[in-house]
């Protein structure tokens, strides 16, 4: 039972254009969402997050949109750069313990390839 789904295993985008990575979730208890970027043989690197009380969060070239009714979020990267080529994981957490330390549930990742 996959609670966080990234249905596109890979995505190819031309340099300078917009990259849009999508993520769907099924657990209505999730209230915090994060995107991580991962290069081979490295740990995931935090990119951007969004709380369920918001529908948009922007940080430089990265914007995350959250549609709670559709249980869908997306990561927009604009403009896309060659260094953005990596695997992007969507992750979610639920406010179970109240202490914020709930651990993350990850999607399977989308391999983003930026073409020159």
């Amino acid at each position: 039972d996959q609670q966080v789904k990234q249905n596109s295993p890979s995505l190819s985008v031309q340099e300078g254009r917009i990259s849009i990575l999508n993520c769907d979730y099924t657990n209505s208890m999730f209230d915090y969402f994060l995107w991580y970027k991962k290069y081979p043989a490295e740990g995931p690197t935090f990119l951007i997050s969004i709380s369920s009380i918001k529908d948009k969060n922007e940080d430089g070239r990265f914007t995350v949109f959250l549609n709670k009714s559709a249980k869908h979020l997306s990561l927009h990267i604009v403009p896309s750069q060659p260094g953005d080529s990596a695997v992007y994981f969507c992750a979610a957490s639920a406010g179970q313990s109240g202490g914020g330390a709930d651990g993350l549930t990850f999607g399977k990742g989308t391999h983003l390839i930026i073409q020159p």
Partner: protein, 119 residues
């Protein structure tokens, strides 16, 4: 210092060996995590320590034994592993937060991982 440091980077062990993975952070985070990642799969949560106490164990076999000696250190003791336990083991830490509404600072920072091979 926003680093989570894991040692060793690579580890090969036999099925009868006992070894330990180590993780260290000096960000003052009070929550630390172990994740396991198999090739081409997402990281899967194993354990969560909150304020140095084990708060989540995701039904991990007892051949994996976590330990949190202090707020900066997290160990994972390994004993009698199986070849299918070969994976990348990731440590992470986060502030922990003080309530479900205070979530903006609960981003988890990950270490580079330990690539474990069980032979």
């Amino acid at each position: 210092d926003t680093e989570v440091t894991q040692t060793p980077k690579h580890l090969v062990m036999g099925m009868t060996n006992k070894k330990s993975l180590k993780c260290e952070q000096h960000m003052g985070h009070r929550a630390m995590y172990w994740y396991k990642q198999k090739a081409k799969k997402p990281p899967e949560l194993m354990f969560v320590y909150s304020y140095e106490k084990l708060s989540i164990n995701e039904s991990v076999p007892s051949r994996f034994s976590p330990e949190c000696p202090n707020s900066s250190l997290l160990n994972l003791h390994l004993h009698a592993l199986q070849p299918e336990d070969s994976a990348l083991y990731l440590c992470a830490s986060s502030q922990g937060g003080t309530g479900t509404r205070n979530r903006m600072n609960t981003e988890a920072f990950f270490g580079q991982g330990t690539r474990l091979t069980v032979v």
